[in-house]
Symmetry: C2
């Protein structure tokens, strides 16, 4: 039973030297999304009506069985990048934008970061 945790873990990787603990936390989150089907699921869910999708509507586009899709969705929920809500007999999934954005911030280098005002 892992707890979803999308708390930003670390400063931008190339700006501050990352600690061993932070590197371990960050690696777990990156590993959760570093899988082709999971990337497609994230993208499909974000494009869904109201930014959410039912597992029943995801099996077709990715061409996988419902148990396989549910497993991938669970990994993404555990990593904090998706939330789920049961409505009736269906489970609906929504992307957590702040979780993806916090990963993006860690990877952004000073070359891409906005310059400080007046610099």
């Amino acid at each position: 039973m892992s707890t979803p945790d999308a708390t930003p873990c670390c400063a931008p990787l190339t700006r501050e030297t990352i600690s061993a603990d932070d590197a371990a936390t960050l690696a777990v989150r990156l590993k959760a999304i570093a899988e082709p089907t999971r990337l497609r699921l994230l993208s499909l869910i974000a494009a869904g009506d109201g930014g959410e999708m039912c597992v029943c509507d995801l099996t077709g586009p990715v061409g996988l069985s419902q148990p396989t899709v549910s497993h991938h969705l669970k990994v993404l929920v555990d990593a904090g990048v998706l939330t789920r809500e049961k409505r009736g007999v269906n489970m609906f999934y929504t992307v957590v934008p702040s979780a993806l954005d916090s990963l993006a911030v860690v990877l952004t280098t000073s070359a891409a970061a906005p310059s400080p005002a007046g610099a």
Copy 2:
């Protein structure tokens, strides 16, 4: 013999539905960095004098043998996020900022993206 390739592969994940091919490319790049030692190596190299470091100076901080560190560095070079240059008997490694930034762009959601002018 993989060719380093840091060409941006995809539009932001939550803005456009990612194709199966792009998801596969992106997953390979994310997997390369989704490892604690490799994240620490990237961070240490970026903090190095002139933004580069010799493998000989990286073994101490990560507490691993030179062959293990060299293996991790090769994965990062193959993924296009590091370049290497031999000078004398030493191999020096430098971060490729555009490669990390292109991964960051793919993960950034519209919630974090700058608003279009006037919007």
